[in-house]
């Protein structure tokens, strides 16, 4: 009775495969890099990769939390660009105000998504698609497609500092990842969220306030979009509408999918999203250094998404 059933062996196998395959792929990639582009392993490049991962990783964590609850948030990049622009405009009242405005704007738009999805029961895909359109349009309108630069130096001093050689944005990513992991594994909200994603019916029976939990996931993803806005604004020294490029949303979803976060909800961990983001950046960076065109990079990414999901499905044992 206590022996592992076939189903559990499947689950174990699945866990192993889901962890192992990306690992093997990554190692193979690194081996190729060692052979073909030794520059890749210069500490500066490695740090650079981490810096690039940081903003994507933060947004991917937001998406991961929404996805664990069984939703999706396409508006993250548009939200990020909008928050960046609004925050950049608010910088004139000081850096703290600017950053606070970015975070609040992001969270506010997240709240809007959350209300539409959790309270009105609209489809997450279309809600966030519409938000993406509206917010994206608003950003361009406000800025007239121009970049806003002109920030107080102190903003860069803070955001671009490298205490102990580690860039602040990487530290931010680590902090967010640790907090998110703790929230997801060790708080009541986290437990509730997994329950909602796994089995909303069982969650309801177990007294989980479904609507509030779902609502909160979108607020969190919005907040993290705001945080990513601050990180990117500092890195680029400017805020503009095209921060929220279409390609970014694909990268975020890809990071989550590669990181083992199920599109059906209820499984996956924030650290997976971070590793997924790292994987995506790694592919971009290494193919770049190998002189492979950006376009082939897209092909690799697209195939990777389908392959990973496929792998996940084949090893999942049971159909959903």
């Amino acid at each position: 009775m206590l022996a592992l059933t076939a189903e559990d062996r499947g689950a174990l196998l699945r866990k192993a495969v889901v962890v192992l395959v990306p690992l093997v792929v990554a190692l193979a990639l690194l081996a190729v890099m060692q052979w073909q582009a030794p520059n890749f392993f210069r500490p500066n490049n490695l740090i650079n990769i981490l810096v690039q991962t940081s903003s994507l990783g933060v947004m991917a964590i937001g998406m991961c939390i929404v996805m664990i609850g069984g939703g999706i948030d396409l508006s993250i990049p548009a939200n990020m660009a909008f928050s960046a622009v609004i925050g950049a405009l608010a910088m004139r009242w000081g850096v703290p105000v600017g950053i606070a405005v970015m975070l609040l704007t992001g969270a506010g738009i997240g709240l809007f998504n959350g209300v539409a999805v959790a309270i009105f029961g609209m489809t997450p895909f279309v809600v966030t698609l519409a938000t993406m359109t509206v917010v994206g349009g608003a950003t361009v309108w406000i800025t007239n497609s121009q970049s806003i630069s002109d920030f107080p130096e102190i903003f860069f001093d803070i955001m671009l500092a490298r205490p102990g050689g580690i860039p602040v944005s990487v530290i931010i990513l680590l902090v967010v990842a640790v907090i998110a992991s703790m929230v997801m594994s060790s708080t009541v909200f986290g437990r509730w969220l997994y329950a909602v994603g796994l089995n909303p019916k069982a969650a309801r029976v177990a007294r989980v306030p479904l609507e509030r939990v779902l609502l909160l996931t979108y607020v969190i993803s919005g907040l993290l979009a705001g945080l990513a806005a601050a990180m990117l604004t500092a890195r680029l020294g400017s805020a503009s509408a095209n921060l929220g490029n279409d390609g970014v949303v694909l990268d975020i979803v890809s990071a989550c999918v590669v990181g083992g976060i199920s599109i059906y909800g209820g499984s996956g961990r924030p650290i997976g999203a971070v590793l997924g983001a790292l994987f995506i950046i790694l592919i971009g960076n290494s193919l770049n250094q190998l002189g492979v065109s950006y376009f082939m990079n897209l092909v690799v990414k697209g195939v990777a998404i389908v392959a990973f999901i496929c792998l996940d499905r084949i090893t999942a044992g049971r159909a959903r």
């Binding site: 279309v126 809600v127 359109t133 349009g137 007239n144 979803v253 599109i263 065109s293 990079n297």
Partner: protein
């Protein structure tokens, strides 16, 4: 679950809601600009929206089955790329080249269908993957460079019969065909049934997998037709072809009253009204010399309204309200309790 007496606003909005919005938009622009409500402008709008209508038809079929295909923009781009390269670099006659495009569109649709049906992968993720990958392939093939079409082909873009552009006619034929397919063929009705509930459909004995697969193939085919139309209109292929089309098509479909939950709505007039809504906004704002980016704001707002109506139709909002509304009124009398009721 759905109670049948719920007429009032829900059904009213469902039946006529969007027509009212459409008329309102039309009225506003007619009053605000000089040349909006002219025959010429109307034709121009139909001309401009023709590719969108065609691509949305494919999306509509997939959505009616309760699925989603966000790769249509990339399919359009890649399949058109084949035609352009064949014509420009290998001197292939346009007819053959475009036949290749159509075949490629159907094949890419079949690829999507295989991933969704054969591998059992969520359509959103599956088509997200192909969306990225196919665009990559197309960019690699064209080097992401704008390539003009041969003059003979480009001039087809303004081919017209009387005052009516040919591609308006093509779009009309496609949209009518798609509508007939949906309404009047076994395939279409069964697809609609699948959208009503996949499990129910399977239980009744409908070959769900086969039907969904074909829907994806058609979606790819329509995407390539739309791609050709867009290609000929612009006169060149560039990385912009089909970009964002997946989202536009979803918006057109939703605004056209086709439910994303599947099985509800019709291609005619849904898709045409949806596309017309967006085209009128674009055209009207443009003529008013409004800030071009206002377009996206208005578009988004319209999608929201459409979605709210959709959610209301599907009974989600209402049922939720109902649940929330069950609160006890404190003043209620106690009445008799079952402890004292009769025994058998």
């Amino acid at each position: 679950m759905r109670d049948n007496q719920s007429t009032s606003f829900g059904q009213l909005a469902r039946r006529h809601g969007f027509l009212i919005v459409l008329v309102a938009i039309f009225a506003v622009f007619t009053l605000a600009t000089d040349h909006f409500a002219t025959f010429g402008n109307f034709i121009a709008m139909l001309h401009a929206m023709a590719p969108v209508v065609v691509m949305s038809c494919g999306m509509a079929l997939v959505v009616l089955a309760g699925k989603l295909d966000i790769s249509i923009g990339s399919v359009a781009f890649l399949s058109s790329t084949f035609a352009v390269l064949l014509m420009n670099n290998h001197g292939v006659p346009p007819v053959v080249a475009f036949a290749v495009t159509l075949a490629a569109g159907a094949a890419l649709g079949a690829l999507n269908g295989f991933i969704v049906v054969g591998l059992g992968i969520n359509p959103l993720i599956a088509t997200l993957g192909t969306m990225i990958a196919l665009r990559g392939v197309a960019l690699q093939l064209t080097n992401a460079v704008l390539i003009p079409l041969p003059e003979s082909v480009r001039s087809l873009g303004n081919l017209s019969i009387g005052p009516i552009f040919v591609d308006i006619l093509v779009a009309a034929v496609v949209v009518i065909a798609a509508d007939q397919l949906h309404r009047r063929t076994v395939f279409g009705r069964q697809l609609n049934a699948i959208g009503n509930g996949e499990e129910v459909a399977a239980k009744i004995g409908i070959p769900v997998g086969r039907r969904v697969f074909v829907a994806f193939v058609l979606s790819g085919l329509f995407a390539s037709i739309g791609g050709i139309m867009s290609l000929i209109q612009v006169g060149s292929i560039s990385a912009y072809l089909g970009r964002g089309m997946e989202f536009t098509a979803v918006a057109v479909v939703v605004v056209g009253g086709i439910s994303l939950f599947g099985g509800r709505g019709t291609i005619l007039p849904g898709v045409v009204l949806g596309a017309l809504t967006f085209e009128m906004i674009a055209n009207g704002l443009n003529q008013m010399s409004a800030n071009p980016y206002a377009y996206r704001l208005v578009t988004g707002a319209i999608i929201f309204v459409a979605m709210y109506v959709d959610a209301m139709k599907s009974g989600r909002i209402r049922s939720r309200r109902k649940k929330l509304a069950v609160r006890d009124e404190p003043g209620r009398s106690t009445g008799t309790i079952a402890e004292t009721t009769s025994r058998p």
